[in-house]
């Protein structure tokens, strides 16, 4: 059992996401992370799914995904060189004075951006792989994380290879 990163190219149509996610829950798999958005092909979307399972189970899920009419291509990126990114928005307590200065310093170190400043809080935006965001969040906790929003993970193969349609 290990996390698998699947990239699923689908028709950009109503109901596609529930067809895809429904299949995971029906077959007893939990989705760890999910990200959906339009992609380079008009009329298509790309879904990145992180899901924990053994190789045989994931292979079965991929075959079942392939059977969905609106699914154009399914790829397992797990054993490939790839880049992965997530984005998080973090609203953190940062009272004017020392704590605000410290938070801003941490943000610089992590290359996070300050995207909103209020009297007692600021909002930071950070992108990176899961570990980096986890580490950043952990460090901010001592100042008081009021709210945290994370996107799902997105992933892409390194190099010139691309994941195109055509089953």
């Amino acid at each position: 059992m290990k996390p698998h990163t699947l990239s699923v190219l689908v028709e950009n149509k109503a109901g596609v996401l529930s067809r895809v996610t429904g299949l995971f829950s029906r077959r007893g798999y939990n989705i760890e992370s999910l990200a959906v958005g339009i992609c380079e092909e008009p009329g298509m979307s790309r879904i990145t799914i992180v899901c924990i399972g053994d190789d045989a189970g994931i292979e079965q899920v991929m075959k079942q995904l392939n059977k969905l009419i609106d699914v154009i291509k399914v790829s397992d990126l797990t054993d490939n060189e790839r880049v992965e990114r997530e984005l998080a928005l973090i609203k953190v307590t940062a009272e004017p004075g020392t704590s605000r200065a410290e938070v801003m310093q941490l943000a610089t170190i992590f290359r996070a951006q300050i995207i909103d400043v209020a009297a007692k809080t600021i909002i930071l935006s950070i992108t990176g792989d899961t570990e980096k965001i986890d580490a950043f969040e952990k460090l901010l906790r001592q100042y008081g994380v009021k709210e945290l929003v994370r996107t799902g993970r997105i992933a892409m193969l390194r190099g010139s290879k691309v994941l195109k349609g055509g089953k």
Partner: protein, 558 residues
């Protein structure tokens, strides 16, 4: 200008549909208005479940796509069991449902239910049509998807305003369907086929395990030719019965839970299992680790997801089984003699024939055997679910594909009678029998009204044991005979039939069986036979749940 309803009805006719099974309601009024003076034949059922099963029975008997129609909400929900039944057995049907107007969608409007959501896991695909402009194309896609690749049900949900609006549309001028996410593999991979043929030559004890895929792809001829050319024995699943004639010397009969001993022994001892259009269902394999555990496995199937799902496969071949078998036959060069293996199998067949006590009691197996010899391979046999189904599978001699229609994957009680109605419209010249249980028949007994009012000559032979027999059998064998809620009160089915205007005969002794069956066959219209059979007869042999398939109980000469 055409309304959506007209586009629908014309579209169905363009797809070659002649008969649909349905039930009206509020949001399908525009569609029913269009049907009023259409040449498309509509059969009014008495429950929407029956419409779905009838469409399914039509599809299985004809090999074409069956169609059913229901209103929104309760009507659509009543189709669900029928759609799930078709899905589990890969049967091509298109289910059309009405929906509340688009302006009310998601509003919990009167008779609104999210039928595309509900049927998501039990359809091959489904559509909610939001614009009249899309209707024609969706319908084309629905038929294409249902009837190609691994076949299955497709649902098309049509809001009332979509069927009422008028647009310019010409079905004939539409483009052929192309779906970039749906391109089933039909031809088998040549290298894989070569590997399979090599493996067959290397084998000493091969068995062909043939499933419903043979029937679905009309590959019976190819199957029999392959078996005969190579002289390899064949066992079929419940769904594969009829793929090879029951009395063919190479046929071992059905395998699995209520299969023959010879089939189960042969699979267990085999060193090569050639699975064709079958899916290693748990009712077939029993304890998976012991199933064909000495065998290498070749698996031919149209659905890549079935390959390696339950059992590791040595040579997977994805493709339409008919096309793959044709390629195999064309490439066959070497042959080998499996004489010693065939002799062993012959020994098992002689030693362990299917058998039941033949005495003066009215045994259900006797009824099936007599019907089988009267029809002599002709006619279409549909069954309900339970003991009646297993006895029919065991004792009826099927000689041709598409003459045996049963709910295998879902095991839906109440399937048989409406499916028999559908089968009649597919093959109006054939005698159609529903071999029923008293429990199952009562799940769609209202269809007596449908057969009476349309004079549909379907015969129902009820093996009336006044029990939910199959469940009672398990209670007898595994729950200390504690018959918890499985006894049914006596029902006079002839009186019920008469009340609907259908003739019938009650049969209480062996001597009456043949004359009664003859009377039913000779009657032009529908007929009900109420056979008061031995109440606690069991289906044997049997593989207990969780056991290996060669660990069978019962049905043996002691």
């Amino acid at each position: 200008m055409k309304t959506g309803a007209k586009i629908l009805v014309e579209g169905l006719q363009r797809e070659g549909v002649e008969t649909i099974f349905g039930y009206p309601g509020g949001v399908v009024l525009p569609i029913y208005d269009e049907l009023y003076d259409s040449s498309l034949r509509h059969i009014l059922v008495r429950h929407e479940q029956a419409a779905a099963h009838a469409a399914d029975g039509f599809a299985r008997a004809s090999g074409r796509v069956g169609v059913c129609l229901a209103t929104s909400g309760p009507g659509a929900c009543n189709l669900v069991t029928g759609i799930a039944t078709a899905y589990m057995d890969s049967v091509p049907i298109v289910a059309i449902t009405g929906q509340v107007p688009t302006s009310l969608l998601g509003n919990d409007a009167f008779q609104e239910s999210d039928i595309t959501g509900i049927t998501l896991p039990i359809t091959k695909h489904n559509y909610l049509v939001k614009r009249t402009e899309d209707l024609g194309r969706v319908l084309q896609e629905a038929f294409y998807i249902a009837g190609t690749g691994r076949k299955g049900p497709v649902l098309v949900d049509i809001p009332k305003d979509v069927s009422m609006r008028s647009i310019e549309y010409d079905y004939a001028a539409s483009e052929p369907v192309t779906l970039r996410g749906y391109q089933p593999t039909l031809r088998g991979h040549a290298k894989q086929i070569d590997k399979a043929l090599e493996m067959i030559i290397e084998a000493e004890q091969p068995v062909i395990y043939a499933g419903g895929g043979i029937i679905a792809s009309d590959a019976s001829e190819e199957l029999v030719r392959l078996a005969e050319t190579l002289v390899i024995p064949v066992t079929t699943t419940l769904m594969g019965l009829g793929a090879i004639p029951c009395d063919h010397p190479l046929n071992l009969g059905m395998l699995g839970m209520h299969g023959t001993r010879s089939a189960n022994y042969a699979v267990t001892e085999s060193d090569l299992l050639i699975a064709i259009g079958a899916r290693f269902d748990d009712r077939v394999t029993g304890k998976l680790d012991s199933f064909a555990s000495h065998a290498r496995i070749i698996h031919i199937d149209i659905d890549p997801a079935e390959i390696g799902k339950n059992k590791k496969v040595d040579v997977p071949i994805v493709g339409d089984v008919r096309s793959v078998l044709q390629d195999m036959l064309a490439k066959l060069q070497k042959k080998k003699s499996y004489d010693r293996w065939l002799a062993r199998i012959r020994g098992w067949k002689e030693k362990h024939p299917l058998q039941y006590v033949s005495d003066n009691c009215l045994r259900p197996q006797y009824v099936v055997e007599e019907l089988s010899s009267l029809l002599n391979g002709e006619g279409i046999i549909v069954s309900e679910v339970g003991q009646n189904q297993m006895w029919t599978a065991q004792y009826f001699c099927f000689r041709k594909p598409r003459t045996w229609i049963t709910s295998g994957g879902l095991g839906t009680m109440g399937y048989g009678f409406p499916a028999a109605i559908g089968a009649h419209f597919a093959c109006p010249d054939q005698t159609v029998f529903d071999i029923a249980g008293d429990g199952s028949f009562q799940m769609n007994i209202q269809e007596l009204s449908t057969v009476a009012s349309n004079n549909i000559p379907v015969k129902v032979a009820i093996l009336n044991n006044r029990f939910l027999g199959m469940v009672r059998q398990w209670q007898e064998l595994f729950h200390n005979r504690r018959y918890s809620f499985t006894e049914l009160p006596p029902v006079d089915f002839v009186k019920v039939a008469n009340a609907y205007g259908v003739d019938g005969i009650k049969v209480e002794s062996c001597e009456e069986v043949v004359p009664a069956l003859k009377a039913a066959i000779e009657t032009d219209g529908p007929f009900v036979l109420d056979f008061r059979v031995e109440r606690e007869e069991n289906v044997f042999p049997m593989v207990p749940a969780g056991a290996a398939i060669n660990e069978m109980i019962g049905g043996k000469q002691e």
